[in-house]
Symmetry: C2
DNA sequence: ATTATATATGAATATATATTCATATGTTCA
DNA sequence: TGAACATATGAATATATATTCATATATAAT
């Protein structure tokens, strides 16, 4: 390989420090779940309070089926869990770790507003 | 509106706490930049050392044009900057804030490995 | 029992976006 | 000056994914 500004040893050392390809793929996939406004909305609402699908639909202004589909994604990524209460499904965040990640998002969001 | 488990006042209070729709859109867009393995790779490498396009291409194993396109995205989102050195373009992270966000990603990545 | 309600899901559609290909621009070196 | 190199970019292609529509299932209410 012909490097421009680094040599082979430096290249190897850099590669050692990074997550391997599969980890990178998994990390990107995990992050991508937060990269959709509908899912972000759902997560932010659930951060405040456990909610049923119908109420999430009204709060976000999205159709019930859209919410159900996104909840399925969030379930598969283990970001949310739910239990049944009669005919309703009550969703909540899976753990506080998720809530912390959302906090970082809110913080960044606030900073953006300040900087523009 | 007909709520299932909350009343109108609770709904209003919840909505007050959340970022408005446009902020949510912007935040999702910002997060999405990190949700791609190629861009993540570029960012992680630049976190270690400023690098030219060619070396980034070799390090990531991606074609030069793919890297250039993604660098353009990262530039537009102001995550990276560059200067010209002869015919080369040397890219680096725009500020330490970005580096901190990547740290969180790495931490999560490590936790995933532990949990599986 | 029949009707209304809450949710889930497969299929279709629309849209976003990552990569490649072809090629242009500018720089270095012989 | 001409050839090789580094980078950027528009267009084409491929692929992922968000939403809607139609509909199924299960529970509650009358």
């Amino acid at each position: 390989m012909e490097w421009c500004r680094i040599d082979q040893d430096t290249a190897n050392a850099l590669k050692e420090k990074l997550p391997v390809e599969e980890e990178m793929q998994d990390l990107a996939e995990f992050i991508r779940v937060f990269g959709d406004p509908t899912r972000l909305g759902i997560l932010f609402y659930l951060r405040e309070k456990p909610l049923c699908v119908h109420d999430l639909s009204l709060l976000t202004g999205m159709q019930q089926t859209a919410i159900s589909h996104q909840l399925k994604v969030l379930r598969q990524m283990r970001l949310v869990r739910y239990y049944k209460e009669g005919r309703m499904a009550i969703y909540s965040l899976n753990d506080s770790h998720i809530s912390q990640i959302l906090d970082i998002g809110l913080k960044h969001s606030a900073e953006e507003v300040r900087n523009d």
